[in-house]
């Protein structure tokens, strides 16, 4: 049973400065699936991803990746175990070229050569932009690059934070297609405000509220429960442009 979860988070508590941001978040991410974290702004979704990765280490609780406890390890060790991270706000390296943005994510020599075709098949634009500096890319292209960067190394789990944020509808479609494609080879834990996108992609969901996991289940069931969606996600249910 436990073997099938690539990631298990058990009641973690995270502080940022004096603020108690996560007050007991628990979740399980089954191998080879897409799981989505839902919740209002400020519910602690981004902090949950950062806590898993060790960027904001949890003070209490257990994080198990591939069966091993990883909480308290330095972030670079956790990442090197096979976790890719796509931060919010398209945090690519703007002063590096597209090629360098991908190259820097290599963990073994030749990672990029092996993955280049796969990455370009998901995001054909990047091939054309390969030599340009990151700050010459449009917002959508930067977001594609941020996802592509997480694909260079052999990652067993991808943490993707709000990939649709600020994207035009047509780009959201392309991004969804890409995430669906890459979930055939890896596992994805997604944070997404756009409920339509989330509901079409994910098999399982967790809802965070005030730093706690308050609901969980199968996405197929959640879509039926309009009342719960409205109560827990409020404005987020409006839907965004993908529909």
């Amino acid at each position: 049973m436990e073997k099938d979860n690539i990631l298990e988070v058990e009641s973690i508590h995270t502080f940022i400065g004096q603020f108690h941001i996560l007050e007991g978040v628990s979740l399980r991410v089954p191998r080879g699936s897409i799981t989505v974290l839902l919740g209002r702004n400020g519910a602690g979704k981004t902090t949950t991803l950062k806590s898993i990765l060790g960027l904001t280490p949890p003070r209490q609780g257990v994080v198990r990746f591939d069966g091993q406890p990883i909480q308290g390890k330095p972030a670079y060790e956790i990442a090197a175990m096979g976790i890719g991270y796509v931060p919010e706000h398209r945090a690519i390296f703007r002063n590096l070229t597209v090629a360098e943005n991908l190259k820097i994510a290599e963990r073994k020599k030749g990672d990029l050569d092996r993955k280049a075709d796969f990455i370009f098949s998901l995001f054909p634009d990047l091939k054309r932009l390969y030599r340009l500096p990151g700050n010459h890319l449009s917002g959508g292209q930067q977001q594609m690059l941020a996802v592509a960067r997480a694909l260079v190394a052999d990652n067993k789990l991808l943490l993707i934070d709000e990939p649709s944020e600020g994207l035009a509808p047509i780009l959201i479609e392309q991004m969804m297609e890409a995430i669906r494609n890459l979930s055939t080879t890896t596992t994805v834990l997604l944070v997404e405000q756009n409920f339509i996108m989330a509901s079409q992609l994910a098999e399982n969901y967790y809802i965070l509220d005030d730093g706690k996991t308050v609901h969980q289940g199968r996405m197929a069931d959640l879509v039926q429960d309009k009342e719960l969606i409205h109560r827990m996600l409020g404005t987020a249910v409006r839907g965004g442009g993908a529909g």
């Binding site: 330095p74 060790e77 390296f93 002063n95 590096l96 994510a105 960067r149």
Partner: protein, 497 residues
């Protein structure tokens, strides 16, 4: 589209080039060729030194947000260490066995960590052990170095070597081996005690891998072998070095100064800066305090005197070379550059600055380390999230910066007095360079250093010509900084946030 981006991306550089060109033409016409060329070359010499200090400062600040107030001290240390190697290496070789032994002991930290994790310790013992072990280590270091003759030798012999006809006479002192060997042994013990202190008995939170322990033991064994070698050759080695060709000795001294500076920089980062990344204000205070401590240590060893390092023969043959090409044959003390008599050694400093700029450019743009540094300047958390040990990159950058500053120091030693506060003025100018160029940009540091160097030189020229206070040269750099900050608050090459 790319054409438009080119103009936008390089706007700052183009403006600087344009302004310099206009000022250059105006200066050339009003000053006449001789004064103009000489002043420009002086400015370039200063600029090269500013760059070597500022490049490290800007990278260290950009990458790790550390304002390193001990950077000027690195410049000063480089000058002292390189000068020592050049004139009387006895001191460095005499100290080497002690340093190597201490490092060998310190390397044992993972070994003790693993050992302690298998033992049980009572609560009060756990709490007091690190402090007690650390104190014991410090006491043992003190005892091991106490009365060491080369520390005294530095005081008296340094003045002597400058006048002594035979430097070899000064290079052969020293304690008999039968007494001396106790010192490295003591240093090794002290290192081991400090390693135990950092390993924290009873601390179960850190795990030490078996590979780590094996590597530590091998490393310590290698260092111990080197210690033995250094102990046996501590008298023969400096004699051999003094018999080398003086030019060779000079270039090796440049290298030694830079490498020792880098080593000291690395030690500072690991021991003082690293534990304080959670408290950035403390880092500033630590570096500030460290600058004072280092200056006092240097004064203790060499007295608060100013020394002059002699130029190697390559730059000191009497007479004047007709051109730079002719100089390669004649090695004269001055060279004719476009009708101006200019010291050949200062041209070498300009050359050294350019070489360092190119080398740094290659490192930053064509190596993985450079790519990681550039990425880390923008977002070091994301670099870490890619699985890269940013901490290790910090140490490397600190070493690189300290090494460059030390190289600047030893480079400057033959034409500015070697004294304990020689780095202070350069540190101040380097901070201004960093602000002008934009924090974290080495190319910005290069442009800023060029601007400041020229401003100082032309300021001095104007002050002399019109009987103004020489303070206008110093004020000019601050004025440039104010103007740049008004136009571009993030500096010429700073990122806009």
């Amino acid at each position: 589209m790319t054409g438009k981006n080119f103009w936008r991306d390089n706007a700052a550089l183009l403006w600087v080039v344009l302004i310099l060109a206009v000022l250059g033409v105006a200066g050339y016409l009003s000053m006449g060729q001789t004064a103009f060329v000489r002043t420009t070359l002086s400015g370039l010499t200063l600029g090269a030194l500013f760059f070597m200090v500022a490049a490290g400062l800007t990278l260290i600040f950009g990458l790790m947000d550390v304002l390193n107030f001990a950077h000027g001290a690195m410049f000063m240390l480089g000058a002292y260490l390189g000068w020592q190697f050049f004139t009387n290496p006895t001191f460095l070789f005499g100290l080497m066995p002690l340093i190597l032994a201490l490092l060998a002991g310190l390397l044992l930290a993972p070994f003790f960590g693993r050992l302690f994790s298998t033992l049980e310790f009572s609560e009060p013992l756990q709490r007091s052990a690190p402090a007690l072990l650390g104190l014991a280590g410090a006491v043992v270091i003190f005892l091991s170095a106490r009365g060491l003759d080369i520390l005294e030798l530095a005081k008296t012999a340094m003045v002597a070597t400058m006048t002594a006809a035979d430097p070899l006479a000064e290079a052969s002192p020293q304690e008999a081996l039968s007494i001396f060997w106790l010192r490295p042994v003591g240093m090794f013990l002290a290192g081991a005690l400090l390693a135990m202190a950092t390993a924290r008995p009873g601390d179960q939170s850190r795990t030490f891998h078996r590979d780590q322990v094996r590597r530590a033991l091998i490393g310590a064994a290698v260092l111990l072998l080197l210690t033995v070698a250094a102990t046996l050759f501590r008298e023969a080695a400096p004699r051999a070095v003094l018999l080398w060709d003086a030019n060779l000795r000079f270039f090796v001294a440049l290298l030694v100064g830079a490498l020792l500076g880098a080593g000291i920089g690395g030690a500072i980062e690991i021991m003082l800066i690293r534990p304080l990344y959670v408290r950035p204000i403390y880092q500033v205070i630590v570096t500030l305090g460290l600058a004072y401590v280092l200056r006092e240590v240097i004064q203790l060893l060499w007295q608060p005197l100013a020394y002059q390092m002699s130029r190697p023969p390559l730059f000191s043959q009497p007479g004047q070379a007709e051109s730079i090409l002719a100089w390669f044959r004649t090695n004269n003390v001055t060279v004719d550059v476009l009708g101006v008599t200019f010291p050949s050694y200062r041209l070498f400093i300009i050359f050294l600055g350019i070489v360092m700029l190119v080398a740094l450019g290659l490192l930053m743009n064509y190596t993985r380390l450079g790519m990681i540094i550039r990425a880390g300047v923008q977002d070091r958390q994301m670099v870490e999230a890619l699985g890269i040990n940013v901490q290790r990159v910090f140490t490397l950058v600190f070493m690189l910066g300290a090494g460059l500053a030390a190289l600047g120091g030893i480079g400057a030693a033959p034409f500015i007095p070697v004294q304990p506060n020689m780095g202070d003025a350069f540190q101040l100018q380097a901070f201004i360079v960093v602000v002008i160029g934009g924090m974290g940009s080495y190319s910005g540091a290069a442009i800023g250093a060029l601007l400041l160097g020229l401003a100082r030189a032309f300021g001095d020229y104007l002050a002399l010509k019109y009987n103004l206070s020489p303070a206008i040269a110093e004020a000019s750099t601050v004025i440039i900084m104010a103007i740049v900050l008004l136009v571009r608050p993030a500096g010429l090459f700073g990122r806009k946030e």
